[in-house]
Subunit: 264 residues, 2 copies
DNA sequence: CGCGTTCTTGACTGCTTTCAAAGATGGTGG
DNA sequence: CCACCATCTTTGAAAGCAGTCAAGAACGCG
């Protein structure tokens, strides 16, 4: 079966909903992630599919949202990598969190929300508006789970910056990115797309690019990773995991259940 | 006028609602903070006042919530300081965020939520259940704003750990704590209650207690702060603010408006 | 007053940064 | 197809911020 690469225009709730749902879930990495967060109805999946028709594109290095600016509408990140950044007046820069395909941007519950951080495109990026989710719907649940995960990743980032060495930070971060990309179906046998420069990684991990470079070389020398041409290959994920007793986050009971017995 | 120190039992929506509201807002620091986040109706204030009758107390150094455990109900922190912590297997410890009077704990939107981090009482602490907030109510708005602020503080913490020196981290942190305590009415002319040990502060700022100690001495020598007997006095807040162009967070348009022209 | 916790101090180590410059890489246009 | 340029990666030497270890002083509580 050939999967649609771009959503055909004008598709609505149709005949073979079930097949469509399956197709969507594997064709769009964003859709794939969102459908994995909570059970969605066929209508909801169709709504997401529909929403993807409207695309906002941003070139790499463009500002998607600026600090202190009103947040208009919530978006879904369809493709590419973005991040939240804090820029200091003296040139220092800290990447606060990464935004990967399927992540939500600008999902605020208060009225007249202002962006608390700049959002910046690390690569070419495309967004679509996030469909409204009525209270207690499956989509609302998916949004809630996504929000809880985002918070959990912020906590991980704090612990990483506060207490891990450069060597540990890189390993811990790679494992987290692997898990997050895997949710969107973007990881194949521990090979992950890695569009970041070492400088961007340094800004993420609170290091200098020089030290990131040296530490990566250590990891390569130890045959733990390969990193060439925008792709990282984890050579011994098990050893990486045990070396810092890394554990994936889970924010709901259902989530933890699915970890014990993976769906696939 | 004498303010009630403990909420009298059985009070409901009464005669002099306006006066009551004013009294509550100054009597309970938690109530004071929540009422400042969004306009609340008299009924909502009464509900909060009512909720405070049920108190869960935790002694200092007790675990309030443990990682991976189901979150039963949302609570309001009435008094004392708590924190979210990540404990590493080798003894390292990172305090992820501080929980101050008026902060919400365990406010989750997803079903069957699990605690993502341990919550730990830094001092004796008392909590009460957070009243339910119907959608679009003032209370829901207050909860939403509180959640957005919490997220903003996590971003600040990440930037702090990633890119500031020990000296800068302490200043930045002190200013943030001042602002947060001020919302709850707990700051008087830049004197803040400071129940943390230098070790706890080290675990918050990703440093060692020895280095925190030395850095505090520098700040004292420079006549920037005093810290004695559980109280910190900021001696020159303006200089502290400009030294790292510190700016308070605002998460809504209304919020920013009130900064320009303070309500009191 | 006595004991445990917290704070303070010194000497030494080391991880990470800084500064600078040389290679590698990839995309573009002639 | 190759030269060229900008960006990114790699390397070296030296300095500095923060950590470690250890022990003594001060503080606060019962």
């Amino acid at each position: 079966m050939t999967l649609p690469m771009e959503p055909p225009v004008g598709t609505r709730v149709g005949l073979a909903m079930r097949d469509l749902a399956a197709a969507f879930a594997t064709s769009s990495s964003a859709l794939r992630r969102l459908t994995s967060l909570a059970p969605l109805s066929d209508q909801e999946i169709a709504a997401l599919y529909d929403a993807e028709r409207v695309r906002h594109r941003f070139a790499a290095h463009r500002e998607i949202m600026s600090e202190g600016t009103p947040v208009r509408e919530a978006s879904i990140l369809l493709s590419g990598w973005a991040c939240r950044v804090r820029q200091f007046s003296d040139g220092r820069r800290q990447i606060l969190s990464l935004l990967l395909p399927g992540d939500l941007i600008g999902m605020c519950r208060q009225r007249d929300p202002l962006a608390v951080t700049m959002v910046y495109a690390l690569t070419d990026v495309s967004l679509c508006p996030a469909p409204d989710a009525p209270p207690r719907s499956g989509l609302a649940e998916a949004y809630a789970v996504s929000g809880a995960l985002e918070e959990a990743y912020l906590f991980r980032q704090i612990a990483r910056l506060g207490r891990l060495s450069a060597y540990e930070r890189i390993i811990d971060w790679l494992l987290e990115i692997r898990d997050r990309l895997a949710e969107a179906g973007l990881v194949d046998s521990d090979r992950l797309p890695m569009p970041l420069t070492q400088e961007a990684l340094a800004d993420t991990l609170g290091l200098t690019s020089v030290h990131v470079n040296r530490t990566l070389q250590t990891l390569r020398r130890e045959k733990l990773i390969e990193w060439r041409g925008g792709v990282v290959q984890l050579l011994d994920p098990a050893r990486l995991v045990t070396s810092l007793d890394y554990q994936p986050v889970s924010v709901t009971k259902a989530d933890r259940a699915s970890e014990r017995s993976p769906a696939y």
